[in-house]
Amino acid sequence: MAIPKVMGTEIEYGITVKGDPDFDPISSCVLLVNSYREDHSGDILWDYDQENPLADARGFQVDGEKYTPNQQENIARNKTLINGARYYVDHAHPEYSCPEVTNSRELVIHEKAGERILEASRREASALLPAGAQMLLYKNNSDRKGNSYGAHENFLMDRRTSFKQVVEYLMPFFVTRQVFCGAGKVGSENRGQRCEYQISQRADFFETEVALDTMVKRPIINTRDEPHADREKYRRLHVIVGDANLSEYTIYLRTGVTSLVLSMIEDGAIRKNLSLRDPVAAIKEVSHDPSCRRAVHLESGKRLTAVEIQQEYLEMAHAYCAGHEVSAEAEDVLAKWQWVLENLRRDPMALERQIDWVMKKSMIESFMERKSLSWDAPQVQMLDLQYHDLRPDKGLYYMLERQGRAERIVGDDEIAAAIRRPPEDTRAYFRGECLRRYGPAVFGVNWDSISFSVDEEPIKRILMAEPLKGSRAHVQGLLESSPTAADLVRNLRA
């Protein structure tokens, strides 16, 4: 039986300062992240002891230097929030890792809360810049000059499922799922074949099938084996192949379908061999074809379009859901997936209210038509970039949403609440509540631990190796009977 798909996303945002010729990304990121203030606002460390980004899922350890900043730098670059998220500086980008959730709808809520948290800090940071300068943030993945930054997805998986099988069954799915979750891009880069518009922001950057790297020679399937949980029982599938999405519908579908396919892999429900002859070439071919009609070569010699490959997965999912007890959400995801694939087969542009790459393309084409512009016009490139702008009054995705051109999945009230409230059914609840209740006594945090500094006692680290423990049902009594951090530590010892 497949294990519950605990999941979360890590989004790196593009950052620039308009009106500052000497813009420095790293100091701007530090300013941004520190401009976000919550009541607890203690100096809390991110606990790097628990991290091992150099372990490979294929069973070995890669040589390399593990990054560990000094204490002051650590505090300046890392914020853990009372909603259980991590908001931090990753190299030259601000990054938001949402708290662990157990379903796609909640993932949409928390990813969207992240957008608002970044926008709130952007406004605060901009106020500190010299007159005329303004900080800008973009939820996209490329500067269209060959530099890419990631939008990673994480899914808890059963370690008993062989990684080789995961790779085999996921590869055709990952190469083709972009037809319903690409964020769209004008032109190509990274020596990609020239095109006017393509489905994915990221396809141009994938150069190999399976590897540990994320920054160079990017692989379609990343092998980082850092479960942030009990490593005897779990792995965390670290998905780097996706785009940063703005459409709620797209985020919901991307997450829902991917987690369903992962459950199917765990339950042995994927039996067809859909292996592609050349996945790295295919991911680009699919991206470069907004008509969704071009077929790619399978190893079997067959040729199928991306939509047809997705339909094969859909059929297996129908059979799987008929024979297993699945959630109401999984049923809803299945229905939406089917509806979207039918539209992609008939006329992809019919999805102009649901799927990011279609929404953007439709908007750009309307503008081009009225203004008689071609795809290489600077205004067209500007539209592409500004679709991802986080300012509610300037961001073109938000403009479409305001005009009723974006199908919603969640409510604004739910998003607003998630800025300060953790999910209740994962360990994120315990993490967030500890920060809210005992902030000044929290010494360090990681996904699977939280440590306290109480009085003169040695630091007490509490491990959370089970992502589903630490939920509200699990710890509310403990928290309520612990008015102070000292009480909490004592009660945990008892």
Binding site: T16, K18, P25, D90, H91, A92, H93, E95, R116, E119, R123, S142, D143, R144, K145, N147, S148, Y149, G150, H152, T214, M215, D332, A335, K336, W339, R353, Q354, M363, S366, F367, E369, R370, K371, P378, Q379, Q381, M382, L383, L385, Q386, R391, P392, D393, K394, L396, Y398, M399, E401, R402, Q403, G404, R405, A406, E407, R408, G411, D412, I415, A416
Partner: protein
């Protein structure tokens, strides 16, 4: 699945509008939605419907382009040229 009950979806989106604007702390003006949308005549024939929808779409597109014109960054060429990121991840 009912993805396209237009009126219902629009109502939901209008709630979204209020939320975003209040969260945004701006004085973004509300764009009047063109093309009606409410109360489609159920007895209209296929081609009439299509023609009406075509006209609505044209009006909606005009409204869209007008609003883009208002918010699009000036000096697009320079802006896009200057948007350079370091690789991440």
């Amino acid at each position: 699945m009912q993805h396209h009950t237009t009126t219902r979806a629009r109502r939901a989106d209008e709630q979204g509008l209020l939320g975003i604007v209040s969260a945004a702390d701006t004085t973004q003006r509300k764009v009047p939605k063109k093309g009606g949308g409410e109360g489609e005549e159920p007895e209209a024939s296929g081609s009439q419907k299509l023609a009406k929808r075509g006209k609505e779409l044209k009006e909606e597109m005009d409204a869209l382009v007008d609003e883009i014109d208002e918010v699009l960054e000036e000096n697009a060429e320079e802006f896009v040229k200057n948007y350079v990121q370091r690789g991440g991840e």
